[in-house]
């Protein structure tokens, strides 16, 4: 069961680039063990120098952005490798939402699986939020609300507080995130359909499930009887 998410609130870090790939989000150096500190490895290639020291100018190393909760990026965020560790690294760092005009297909799926809000914004919204972020080098906090699919400046005293921007997310995904639904549990509601489908497919397309691949039994419950 995923933890339910209804809102994300905190400082927004700006990555004003398109095509930010998952190798950049989490370099392979951090994927060599099952227990690496992925939050520390987030944007590792840019965040640390060759000696492993923090690069002062990198946004997430600046004092105001060390606790960032949101990322604003340009087109095609998360392209390249399918590594879900890119999403884990963002989440473990504390990022709860990435806003961008578009996301790469696999990253987009991976984000929802981990309740990372991947909000699609209009190019105009991107430009406005970018301008706003650039005007606040001290860091500006935003609130992302999943019920209204809006992002707004958090501080009630800020003159911009009443201004809000829309982002898009499929309604079913919003509901799943608010409820904290586990997708596998949902799919297993259809397990009779799945078993029937497999039975039908293996009788109609025997060539696809030949005995020298599947043995006599393919069902997990019988796997102990099967010998390779």
């Amino acid at each position: 069961m995923n933890k339910a998410v209804e809102r994300v609130e905190g400082v927004m870090a700006l990555f004003a680039r398109c095509d930010i790939n998952t190798d950049a989000i989490i370099p392979s150096t951090w994927l060599r063990t099952a227990s690496a500190d992925l939050g520390k490895g987030l944007f590792g290639g840019d965040r640390y120098d060759e000696q492993g020291n923090e690069v002062e100018s990198f946004v997430l190393n600046r004092p105001a952005f060390r606790q960032s909760r949101l990322i604003l990026a340009d087109e095609n965020f998360g392209c390249g490798s399918s590594r879900e560790a890119a999403v884990w690294a963002l989440v473990q760092f504390g990022i709860g939402c990435v806003l961008a005009p578009s996301f790469a297909d696999i990253f987009y799926e991976n984000a929802f699986k981990n309740n990372l809000v991947a909000g699609i914004i209009d190019v105009e919204t991107y430009q406005e939020l970018k301008t706003l972020a650039e005007a606040h080098p001290e860091g500006l906090a935003f609130t992302v609300d999943l019920h209204s699919l809006t992002v707004s400046v958090s501080d009630a005293n800020n003159p911009l507080h009443n201004r809000s921007w829309n982002f898009r997310m499929p309604a079913s995904r919003v509901q799943a995130m608010i409820r904290g639904n586990d997708e596998i549990t949902g799919t297993l509601h259809h397990q009779v359909d799945i078993a029937d489908f497999y039975k039908m497919a293996s009788s109609e397309k025997q060539w696809l499930f030949p005995e020298h691949l599947i043995g006599r039994d393919t069902d997990a419950s019988n796997k102990k009887n099967r010998v390779f």
């Binding site: 680039r17 790939n21 190798d23 095609n76 590594r83 359909d193 060539w207």
Partner: protein, 480 residues
């Protein structure tokens, strides 16, 4: 999909998708059956962990196959212990496979290799089949008319537990290749040129069918190379309709259907093509006559040019975001706008990866390097895609040709493409590689990557620099 007349034209993609549709889900996605699930050691450990934590087990272990390929050492004669850092993930893959009754192609298995090399080799990927793997280059098997879907680790867990995927059906796109590829050029040049034309996001949201006379002319191994880089177009899926070459390739493969099953399979496969009237959401046409040897200059696979070309000038780019990205790429790659690409000195030449590590790739490279020697300051290595490829190459004496020319001859694995094992390009070094990604830090921290075909990489290894077309022609003449 029925039209008003009762039956409307379908794309190849529609046909395969529909044949795997278990049901439409309430949220608009489709629940589809996964015929083959291939695991690799760096994206599956967490999936097994979470699956067990939820009290679940692998639904159809016989449809699941595991490999060790990413983090394995490629040092000849290696074991799980050769690269101690990788031992944990390798042992997890082995024990997870063993305890779930999953076939495991570990480092000590004679058929071990890169997942996208061994899936076709073993006959696990078949036309009309859906194969998923926790790796973005899974579309490679599209070269056989198989839908290869790259997935994340949560989806790996989902398939382990249910043998299905819940997906929004992608839109359809067809890229049609006209004309004839000039002699000496390869599928790698074709796909790099395509990515340069369409861009790294051009295929996002699409399933891409590659078609046209130039595609029909490609060998199966070349088709695998082409489909491999679909994700570099942003497309999760890329495939080619099966034909007689596909059938010839698959017959007698270990897990391909046999005897009467093979006959039924061939009958089924003959219907796997897009109907003449099928409509695609996007169609792109590429003229192969215009393509020359390609090499990347920047830090995304769309940053490509002819080897005779120059580094672009960002000041000529209108879009500010794109201008900034190109400027950054040029800085990272330590190049100058307008600089000629040929003649650029390289430090490392790498032939390998799921893109270009099959026997035909190695044969082509070996033919170019035979009787020559690698430039004195270049580290050159060949990493066959599988141990089967390695044995076949050795039977043909290719290992001797490469070794005598000064190349390292390694064991199979992903190696210097993802550089998650110990095969790393040193900081600041420039590597020309037959791989698929030239991202910043891809081959190691501060590494610089130029992607190209096996022919261009082999020529570069000898010359010590990016070759020009005249050098390629000279090398090709030496073959006759």
């Amino acid at each position: 999909m029925d039209g008003p007349s009762g039956k409307s034209a379908l794309t190849l993609f529609d046909k395969i998708w529909n044949a795997h549709l278990i049901r439409h889900l309430d949220d608009g996605r489709d629940l589809i059956f996964v015929d083959r699930h291939v695991l690799q050691e760096t994206t599956s450990a967490q999936a097994f962990h979470n699956m067990r934590k939820a009290g679940r087990s692998v639904r159809y272990p016989a449809l699941t196959i595991a490999t060790q390929d990413h983090i394995v050492s490629t040092k000849p004669g290696r074991s799980e212990d050769t690269n101690p850092t990788g031992r944990e993930l390798m042992q997890l893959m082995r024990s997870n496979a063993l305890s779930s009754g999953i076939r495991h192609y570990g480092v000590d298995h004679p058929s071990q290799g890169i997942v996208h090399v061994i899936a076709p080799e073993l006959g696990l990927a078949l036309p009309g089949c859906i194969l998923a793997c926790g790796d973005s280059h899974t579309s490679t098997v599209g070269g056989l008319g198989c839908l290869g879907i790259g997935v994340g680790t949560s989806e790996v867990e989902h398939i382990l537990a249910t043998q299905t995927l819940a997906l929004s059906k992608p839109k359809s796109m067809r890229i049609v290749y006209h004309g004839t590829l000039q002699a000496g050029l390869s599928a790698k040049d074709l796909i790099l040129h395509t990515i340069g034309q369409i861009g790294v996001a051009g295929g996002r949201g699409f399933a891409v069918e590659y078609a046209g006379p130039a595609i029909e002319a490609l060998s199966i191994e070349a088709r695998l190379t082409l489909c491999n880089m679909s994700i570099e177009l942003g497309a999760r899926l890329g495939f080619i309709a099966p034909d007689d070459k596909t059938i010839a390739y698959l017959e007698h493969r270990e897990f391909a259907p046999k005897d009467t099953d093979f006959v039924s399979a061939c009958a089924y496969w003959s219907g796997l093509n897009s109907d003449v009237q099928a409509v695609f959401d996007r169609e792109v046409h590429i003229d192969c006559d215009l393509i020359s040897h390609q090499v990347s200059w920047g830090t995304t696979p769309e940053d490509v040019a002819s080897i005779d070309g120059v580094v672009p000038d960002p000041t000529q780019v209108d879009d500010p975001a794109r201008r900034e990205r190109i400027s950054q790429a040029i800085r990272y790659m330590d190049l100058q706008p307008g600089q000629t690409l040929s003649g650029l000195p390289i430090d490392v030449a790498f032939i390998g990866s799921c893109t270009n590590s099959r026997l035909s790739d190695l044969q082509l490279a070996a033919a170019l390097v035979r009787g020559h020697h690698v430039s004195p300051h270049v580290r050159a290595l060949v990493v066959p895609g599988s141990m089967s490829v390695k044995r076949e190459a050795e039977a043909l004496g290719l290992d001797v040709i490469f070794r005598e020319a000064g190349f390292e001859w390694r064991d199979a694995g992903c190696s210097m493409c993802v550089s998650i094992n110990e095969d790393v390009v040193p900081p600041g070094s420039r590597c020309i590689a037959t791989t698929n990604r030239n991202f910043e830090n891809r081959q190691g921290p501060k590494s610089r990557t130029h992607i190209a075909s096996p022919a261009v990489v082999a020529a570069a290894a000898l010359a010590g620099c990016i070759p020009d077309t005249s050098m390629m022609k000279l090398n090709a003449e030496g073959l006759s």
